[in-house]
Amino acid sequence: MRKKAQQEYDVIIVGSGAAGGMCAYVLACSGVKVLMLEAGRDYDPVTETPMFQLPKDAPMRGAGTKEKPFGFYDATVDGGWEVPGEPYSSAEGTDFRWWRARMLGGRTNHWGRISLRMGEYDFKPRSRDGLGFDWPITYQDVEPYYDKTEMLIGVYGSNEGLENTPNSSPGVLQPAPAARATELLTKKHAASVGVPVIPAHLAILTERQDAARLSRELWPNNALAQRVTEDSMRSRAACFFATPCGRGCSIKANFQSPTVLLPPAVATGNLDIITDAMVREVTVNAQGRATGVHYIDKTTRVEEHVSARVVIVAASALESARILLNSKSGLFPDGLGNGSGAVGKYIMDTVGAGVGGQIPAMENTPAHNTDGASAMHMYTPWWLYQEQARGQLDFARGYHIEFGGGRRQPGFGFMGGLSSFTDGAYGARFKEECRRYYGSFMWFDGRGEMIPNEDCYAEIDAQGVDQWGIPTLKFHWKWSDHELNQARHMQKTFASVIESMGGNVTSTVHEDGARAIAAPGVIIHEVGGVIMGEDPGRSVLNEYCQSWEVDNLFVTDGGCFVSNADKNPTLSIMAIAWRASDYIVEQLASRSL
């Protein structure tokens, strides 16, 4: 996709994923002329998704490689923890992995679709426990944007009214799909160890959207926005409960920026997109206002410049920090909008730890379809608020539990570990044992809140440039005891749930949290680095993602996060980006920008 039809643009958006896609949709619907730059190639889920292809048709039966870490059929192309020609480095003792997805729509193409709202506590964590930072906004500020985002993208789930686990407004959620057998079994037994199981929220349509109602409610008094939104919604089918969401979705039943946000934005006539455009820096004039961006045209390897009244950086948290740090000038010697010195600071990932189990009660389960909406129908929200408040836990913040198992499609590695259950069965007995054990394995993964700290940051590596000549990032990382203790708690909890099911724990449960926790960056929820706040001396952005120092510069992606609740960030990124976009529309209209 290479198009630059307009003569002049109001806004340049760097990035086409959750944040960039949402900003483009809202701005274009509002009549703003937008130019989007995407570092990766054009990508169309409708024609490119390998919907029904089987492991047997893929190289190495679909096994993960460094080029395709989540397996051959994963939607991500030109991405992963290693991107050719785009290195990064780590300080000694740091093992940070930086996931990038150089493609239209970025990581919204393969993401887990888990769409949990941050709650009231999550916006004011410091007020509750004295750690980290409070957001400059409350849940009530974002609530209408959660509703609008869920109505637009389609999120299934239920309203359970649990603590710090917000309900959606009436008429917003899609119906939750019926629980699978393994989920019901987990729910039954987990209750005995005090662990609740409720319907999960995922960005997947379980029925077709009510396009006429939703488009009217989302855009009262805006005929153009209503039309493009309604048309886009009508082009989406409901989930047919087959094929993994991580491959993308050619029938547009799940949320991806290139199927849900970009088509209606383009249909307004107000959005142009240039792909293969790797942004190097934001340019400024003598008055310190942003004038546009320099980017490398990857197809010609020549640097180009485009200009606009407003620049939105939405390149993903760490890439956005990198762009700001690389935008040095006489006025901004330490990087653009970095008078506070906070750019690159307070980066966070999610705490991750897992345990597997084999459940004898699930052996020889009668054959039945367990595909469902591909990902989880049920999950466990954080449930120990009272214990935490009473000081009974040795960590400050919560985690949720994702789990699954059962009779899933055999893929690479199938029954590879059976030897240890069968004392090395082979031959006719191996075959029999595979049939017996098939569908009896489960996994439990914790996804927990990390508290920002001074030791986790990214800086420009004075030693390196990437193949586009752009200075690279160097990462520093140190977990606090809160994260390590939480990871240990996760593993112990999962072991107790597995045992409550009469199961055998098949993973090592570590006493040392440092051995339980996933390496930083592995969960791919990195946020922070360009944090918002109330104090220009300690934060980079105000509550509208607007730079304190450069008022026509915005960073609308996860970079603005000041905490990283256990709620997977994508939904909140979109809600906050929508809120920022509304503000930009107002400011443009009043000529304040």
């Binding site: 190639r41 054009d42 990508y43 490119e48 998704t49 390998p50 919907m51 029904f52 089987l54 492991p55 190289p59 190495m60 039966r61 490689t65 080029e67 395709k68 051959f72 192309v77 992963g80 991107v83 629980a179 057998a181 019901l184 079994l185 379980t206 029925e207 077709r208 009508r234 089918a237 989930c239 047919f240 087959a242 491959r247 050619s250 547009k252 389960t365 009668p366 054959a367 039945h368 367990t370 595909d371 469902g372 909406a373 009779r407 055999p410 893929g411 590695g413 029954m415 590879g416 059976l418 030897s419 004392d423 090395g424 082979y426 031959g427 191996f430 075959k431 595979c434 049939r435 098939y438």
Partner: protein
């Protein structure tokens, strides 16, 4: 949406096997995508704008590199390296691990040895380690056969009982005597790869009674016999 305004579910053809060919799969996908529009005619709702699912012979956008492979028509991008003699030895071992029975054929008849060839020929560190383990292991197995059962005999020449005599000693590393540990690691690797190769085939998935990868008109709770089996009634 009122209940009576909900699109009626369109009956899809029932597909028993999970291994639909691609054309068939896409046809069903198109039906599923278009289904609501057929029902929508009754309610006066506009027709869904998903006319037909695409069916390109390949993906023209993909660069065809390891980072951006054609996922619609996948290709293995490296040459296979095992000799025909090594493949013949592997085939015998694969069938010792997964023999034919009344539910499904043997591993070698479904090409397990060819999958292992693809695996050990791949240009990745772990695969190259497995290549050494497996190529060396095959020679080790022949030497073990000769030492135990007589000159001139390779593993493939042994009786099934003789093969089992060796494999019984190396099938479970914790029980394996020290001097056979390397053999046990070799055996375990071949067993894992054979398992992947066998169970991911159509025949393997049919044997397991895997049901899925088929478009559904709706998602139902688990069948009563499953709930009964799990004590969830």
């Amino acid at each position: 949406m009122d209940d009576n305004k909900k699109p009626k579910r369109f009956e899809l053809p029932v597909v028993g096997a999970m291994d639909m060919d691609r054309r068939h799969a896409l046809k069903i996908m198109a039906l599923a995508a278009a289904a609501p529009s057929l029902a929508a005619c009754d309610t006066g709702e506009p027709v869904l704008d998903v006319a037909i699912a695409p069916n390109p012979p390949m993906n023209p956008k993909a660069k065809g590199t390891a980072w951006d492979p054609d996922m619609v028509e996948p290709k293995v991008m490296w040459e296979r390296t095992l000799s025909s003699d090594e493949l013949a030895s592997l085939a015998v071992l694969c069938d010792v691990i997964i023999p034919a029975d009344d539910r499904s054929p043997s591993a070698s008849s479904l090409g397990a040895q060819d999958f292992i060839d693809e695996w050990v020929s791949a240009p990745y560190e772990g695969n190259q380690r497995d290549a050494v383990l497996i190529r060396g292991g095959l020679l080790w197995l022949d030497r073990e056969s000769r030492e135990r059962f007589g000159d001139g005999l390779r593993f493939r020449d042994l009786t099934q009982e003789q093969r089992h005599a060796i494999c019984d000693d190396i099938c479970y590393e914790p029980n394996t005597p020290e001097h056979l540990k390397a053999g046990a690691r070799f055996f375990d690797t071949v067993r894992s790869l054979t398992s992947t190769a066998f169970w991911t085939t159509t025949e393997g998935m049919t044997d397991l009674e895997y049901i899925g990868n088929i478009p559904q008109t709706s998602w139902a709770p688990p069948p009563p016999e499953v709930l009964r089996h799990l004590g969830l009634e």
